[in-house]
Amino acid sequence: MSDHSSSEHSSSLGTYIAVWLALIAGTILTVVAAHINLGPFNAAVALTIATVKALLVALFFMHLRGASEKLLKLVVISTIFFLFILLALSMADYGTRVWS
């Protein structure tokens, strides 16, 4: 919310390049982390990195960060909320059911 006024939503070229480099670094980091034995945390690390990358794309490339209103953020958050509901309540069944 700092650098640009909310009406003109495009960031500077430098920001784009920095985000692009961060995304590539994140990709390499994911691959490296996958080859290290972290026990049960491998999946968590991979998903965390993926989420950070997705956030970078959404905030900077899709201009969610500079969006003039909170509405777009609300759309994103509520979608993720309902996706979470689908996964969590399904797991409420699968996590407690014996099936083969």
Partner: protein
Amino acid sequence: MATATAQPAGQTIERENYLNKHYGVGSWLLTTDHKRIALLYLISLTFFFFIGGFFALLIRLELLTPAGDLVQADTYNKLFTQHGMVMIFFFLIPSIPATLGNFLVPMMIGAKDLAFPRINLLSWYLYIIGGVLMLHCMLTGGVDTGWTFYVPFSTAYTNTKIIEAGLAAFVAGFSSILTGLNFIVTIHRMRAPGMTWSRLPLFIWAHYATSIIQILGTPVIAITIVLVAVERFLHLGIFDPKLGGDPLLFQHLFWFYSHPAVYIMILPSMGVVTEIIACFSRKRIFGYHFVAMSSIAIAVLGFLVWAHHMFVAGISLYAGLIFSFLTYFVAVPSAIKVFNWTATLYKGSITYEAPMLYAFGFIGLFTIGGLTGLFLACLGINVHVTDTYFVVAHFHYIMVGGALMGYLGGMHFWWPKISGKLYPEGWARLAALIVFIGFNLTFFPQFILGYVGMPRRYYAYPAEFQILNVLSTAGSTVLGIGYLLPMIYFLWSMRYGKPAPDNPWNAAGLEWKTASPPPTFNFDEEPVVTWEAYNYEQLDEHEQEVPVAG
């Protein structure tokens, strides 16, 4: 449609409106006017309603006698499947949003059109493509899985046209998504100056909540249909326990959409009823904000309860407890609505025009349907009545007694605005009464039948159930007449009905401030809203001071 027929002498020449501005088939099939698209939907929906109703009548005829004598068992399976599919995907889900919603959402918020008029037309074409696929499917063999497509029967065993029926539902689902998307953007972006969120008619709030379900729920059924199709073609084992898959996964995904889908049907109807009750009791809706928020709450809570359709399917007991518990919560916003309608009626100047009769019918039948839903949410009772006629009666009280009553009430309420003609009030009241009696005669016996143990989806039954079944079949005939009547007198009124004034009910709301029928861009000048919704006290005071003409 309302071609400019010879006006009675003394009438001025008809004003230019959305119906007479352009003529010809092309001006309808390529229109981007939300009002014309609403009428396209109205015509196609009515067609599918009578197809679905035809299947229903055949089902009831078969069940007139205990023996399976009218149709064969396979045919019977197809009858109830196609009755369900047509009624749900091609009538109930689009019913109010696509007709009344399409017509009224822009007008109620003071907009010229929906945000994406071409997408609106596209959504009608998708609906028609889906509908044609469904018709073709039914004419060339049909489906027999029940509208729920349960695996593994649908993926591995049945020889009927699953893929085509699934594709029909898939395409119709896209139509529904696009309608919802259009409504949400329109409500956010197109409101007239002064039309703040707390001045929106509750019809708009109900449609907003409906759209949330349409855009977030429908994609899940779409991907589920894709998985069923892949599984049926290639038999990969995604839903096959022999190959490590889980049939219950299908049910989870299916009901994640299909339970909220019930709220797609009922929420718009609640919006309609709210408008009608405020108008015919001449009062501001009691607890406006609670009614608005309860719509949103129903939409959200509706996503948390889906597995109550699966209590006996083999989900874990723990999950059953959670879903049973969550299901009770849906009763809270629903009850808020019913109590607020009742409180609005209290000390109102109530009149009993046909739309109000439907609204009263809605409240009563929806309450019965909702309360029996609580029985079903209870794990113990659910085990007893699962897959019996108790369930059938319950959801027909919601979908037909609720959603359809609201639809008919709304059609009567806004018919003068849509067609510019008045319908015959006496006939309309009679029809409302016939529908109410016919409905209860059809479905109340089914509660008893289910409770004493008659299972659903069988074409024959033990002889001791016959009396109740005969009552139900008799009721369905009465109900059928009740549905035919409005269609006849609506058509009649288009030609012979008295011209409607702009605001025949002296109702609040922007849609009544423009002409009947409205001009193509809805308002001659852009409205500016300076009043709260449902300002009936103000309206009536004003009327006492200055007698209105016409």
